[in-house]
Symmetry: C2
Subunit: 597 residues, 2 copies
């Protein structure tokens, strides 16, 4: 394993290894999809860290995992089945390797987790280094800032490596970033710094004096007191691709106890020309770098642009996932009417609340997994004052290759109980448009959830005036399948074609909150199956069971959804297979239920 050998490598060997790692990463992402640009930018940093520290005794925390591929390769994991079922996860995961200190699918957690780890280490009288590798975009996340400012006394043997590539997923317009870049732009300081760094590689008394001098000089040359005030010794900026410089600095840092922030400047996509030129495109890429066309994300983007033409009050809000949720075109057409808050889901939601208070009609576009981060803002800032904010929740349901940190299985159970909030799950992109208009017409908080990937048009659409009502897509006098959400509806229709269950009635339950209670009352004497891609616990089926119980109806029903587990990476259809949620599984379950007395 490279992780064991790397301590003996010289800089020339490290450079060779860097080239080899890059080659494997580009090949793997071309094959399996994944995060390319940030991973390419972190190769030398990771090599230098492994050269200087003793992992896994020392602890390395990533923030986020977009930078961890080189680390995975060094610690014996293959990328050939990256993000595939049974293969390596796209993110660090302690269950996968003892080298993965902490889960790292959502941004901004490394500093708090690392400080907690230091707290434990010091209390237990242990002795290891804790190193957090954090990107400049993640640093702007509220939780990271909370940790940075938490105490002016930072733990000893705590090293934060800031991988500063000058851009978030989209673009960085943050005050934090500008603040950093001002510091790094000071040429005279950089030169002086480079000189000192060279000298500092000696460990003599002179070296130590120089180091002290360096800090002093930095104090008035580099006007960025940001990290020093927060209890870190600030070291840098260093060239994050210069292995000579990096290994030199890190071997120095390995010897001192002070909490340090090492500021490294890197190039996103480094070593792969296409990605260097267009890192946004290569941030997170699907298989063969292709993009799904007929998807809810694309449909939402078009819808927003279309509605924005006629409605000047419509504005879009997102949090560093503008491309992912389909807002690229909108942001070009209406640059003044989009707010991308960076990786700040909390501020994004509350800014939207403020916009609504100010008379606008904001649409907040977030992935289901990241919406979780603004749960209280939805409750406190949007739903208590009943502000007309519409949440468009992308990546709801199984998300496929991104795996357990990114699943969108919790939104129904979390949001269903929030007062004043309506929740929809349209069956296809055409219905998205109707539900979108309907939800906005109410002038109340609302959310629309839909899955990622290809979404077929399911037809059978009648324009109606009330989208709280459900839609029977296929009549039948057998079991009633109450299908909630695009994938569930599509699979239920497919299941009906399977021999033996042709008499099933398929209902598109596009409104989760409120439920279509008239229809539920009507079905009370039928056998009912609820079907959804979300946790069975507290989800749509639970809502139906709860309704009948509250109304003292004893119905024969069955809830089919995802079990209450964290679902690992695989394709979306493999995930459906793993938990018996395919059309064939549904058909079997319908038959079994139908044959019960």
């Amino acid at each position: 394993m490279w992780a064991d050998e790397i301590k003996r490598y010289d800089v020339r060997q490290l450079k060779q290894l860097a080239a080899q790692l890059r080659e494997e990463m580009i090949g793997a992402v071309r094959e399996n999809g994944g995060h390319l640009a940030s991973n390419l930018g972190a190769v030398e940093l990771i090599l230098a860290l492994y050269k200087a520290f003793d992992f896994p005794e020392d602890k390395l925390l990533f923030d986020v995992g977009h930078q961890a591929y080189a680390h995975k390769l060094l610690t014996g994991r293959s990328l050939s089945d990256l993000r595939k079922k049974g293969g390596a996860s796209g993110f660090p995961d302690p269950e996968e390797s003892e080298y993965d200190t902490f889960v790292a699918g959502h941004s901004g957690n490394s500093l708090a987790a690392g400080m907690g780890l230091c707290f434990a280490r010091d209390l237990r009288g242990e002795n290891y280094k804790v190193i957090c590798l954090i990107g400049d975009a993640s640093l702007a996340n509220g939780m990271a800032l909370e940790a940075i400012f938490a105490s002016e006394q930072k733990p000893k043997n705590f090293i934060v490596v800031l991988n500063d590539n000058g851009m978030a997923i989209d673009k960085t317009n943050s005050a934090l970033y500008r603040s950093l870049s001002k510091a790094t732009a000071r040429r005279c300081y950089r030169k002086f710094n480079a000189f000192l760094d060279k000298k500092l590689r000696t460990t003599s008394a002179f070296g130590r004096k120089l180091r002290r001098l360096k800090y002093t000089v930095k104090g008035w040359m580099n006007k960025n007191y940001f990290f020093e005030r927060c209890g870190f010794k600030y070291v840098g900026p260093v060239d994050g691709h210069d292995l000579t410089e990096l290994t030199g600095v890190l071997s120095e840092l390995e010897k001192i106890e002070d909490p340090v922030l090492l500021h490294a400047i890197t190039v996103k996509g480094k070593g792969f020309e296409e990605a260097e030129k267009d890192p946004t495109r290569y941030h997170g890429v699907g298989k063969n770098f292709a993009e799904s066309e007929n998807s809810f994300s694309v449909a939402l983007g078009r819808l927003l642009s279309a509605r924005a033409e006629s409605d000047p009050s419509l504005v879009a809000v997102t949090a560093a996932m503008s491309d992912g949720v389909g807002l690229t075109e909108f942001s070009e057409k209406f640059p003044d009417r989009i707010m991308d808050a960076g990786i700040c889901e909390e501020a994004a939601v509350t800014m939207a609340a403020g916009m609504a208070r100010g008379g606008l009609s904001p649409v907040v576009c977030l992935y289901s997994t990241f919406l979780q981060r603004a749960f209280d803002q939805i409750v406190h800032d949007v739903c208590i004052p009943k502000l007309p904010v519409l949440f468009c929740i992308d990546r709801a349901g199984f998300v496929g290759a991104d795996g357990k940190t990114h699943q969108g299985l919790l939104d129904i159970s979390a949001l269903r109980a929030v007062p004043n909030l309506n929740l929809f799950a349209p069956k296809d992109c055409a219905e998205l448009s109707d539900v979108f208009d309907y939800a906005r017409s109410k002038g109340l908080p609302a959310a629309i959830r839909y899955p990622n990937g290809y979404a077929p048009n399911l037809g059978g659409r009648y324009k109606i005036s009330d989208y709280y009502l459900w839609e029977t897509l296929s009549e039948g006098d057998g079991v009633v399948v109450l299908a909630c959400g695009a994938r569930a509806v599509a699979r239920a229709l497919e299941a009906k074609k399977i021999a033996g269950v042709a008499n099933v009635q398929v209902v598109n339950c596009r409104s989760v909150m409120p439920l279509d209670t008239r229809l539920l009352d009507y079905f009370a004497n039928r056998k009912i199956i609820t079907f959804e891609e979300g946790y069975e616990t507290g989800g749509f089926g639970a809502a139906v069971a709860e309704y009948y119980a509250q109304n003292n109806c004893t119905v024969r029903m069955k809830i089919i959804g995802a079990p209450r587990v964290f679902v690992p990476h695989a394709t979306v259809s493999e995930q459906a297979q793993m938990y018996k949620l395919t059309a064939a599984d549904l058909a079997r379950k319908i038959q079994a239920f139908d044959s019960q007395p």
Copy 2:
């Protein structure tokens, strides 16, 4: 209404008014409880704001509402029925007054909301000022920091007034605060500043030049670039109790368009000697400043101290509510084993995850309403890696006088679906201890929820080995009442004493996740009522209904809990009456259900 007249007041009259407001506030809090110290500290700031700006055309946002009492009095609200049913809320609420721009029960939202409001104003071509009044403790919250750093370009006509009293609810150890206080300590700067502020009151060309000079001088005299880098003109520090200075500065600020941060130094508890001396005690106070003794909070504190004696791995984590959750004694006895993260719920939870990863056994003590702010951290940082973090959720259920922003009604529905997390609701303080030990013995993520206030010992306690099992407290062959949580169990036992329902069976359902399914199977042929102080939607009753539906049992059951609405301030027992959740209500419902065929 004072708000209309105040523009004509001179400084002498304002001072008189300040004294009058203080008197009313002290009287009201003595009578009704509430937040005293912070409100006393903000009187002059609020008076000066009303003198300088035109509310409600200009918009004033509080962060948090602990400072809003003077504002309530100025805008025609009486404090005589403060926090009582039908009286004024303890926090700003747009439903209560057009002067209350935004909901402000949870910290850190004002800046994002204010920036959203400015975005709306500018897009709609409107013209008003947006003013956020934020305390130094709130500023350390992640959402506030996200907004501060969100963009280097802050909106015009956006004024942030930092009410810096140098302490959070408990004490401030944050780097942010130290950073501020260093700046304010520079005497020569203060003197110079005071001189300039005097001159600046003239609006002549000379005054304008002086103003420019002031910014320049400040640039190198006051080394705190923090806010300037974030796009604010920094003005201050000013004495937040000097009405002459305040009205002068604010009338200047009213005339300029630049985004400004005004740094005001105030004294918490100002004008009330007892509160000035011990502001922590007078932060949030119950009626007559008394403290409830026989409560879960007190019991938890004792329990933690007791267990910490024998278990060196036990550590406590909280977020600026150390006293409220009962940790005062623990923090004195084990100062090295408590982490108070300030108003940073996200960082607190993830730090606890880090501690658990490092071999400790952290207990995170938070109010239910604030736990909502760390929902994703619970999912991503604690439950995915199955770390042994125990959440002790105080103020679960109705919270009484704090009202709708503080209700603890969402925790069951939000947490129940989170994989790997067990959830308990002990019936009394004695059982808290058993459940606490049991949950920790599993070495898995777990949460224990319990209400505030007086909690009687309900007896009937047998030490058993498995607290996933429920406990029948009173046998009977009539309706089975599955009561979940201390208040529900107490009321169910009380209901049983009421004529006509003596044959009811009362079960203490202390484990919400997992459910005691053996017992549920056993009761499948009985009439069942579930009873809880939480939302019916997605709560404990829903879990029971869901279990029976999933297992194809058709049971006769009824779910009794709080309806899905935001519950306004009143006493806890009034809140139970409002939603028909008293013992008498339960008895009536049992009778009605029992008499059904």
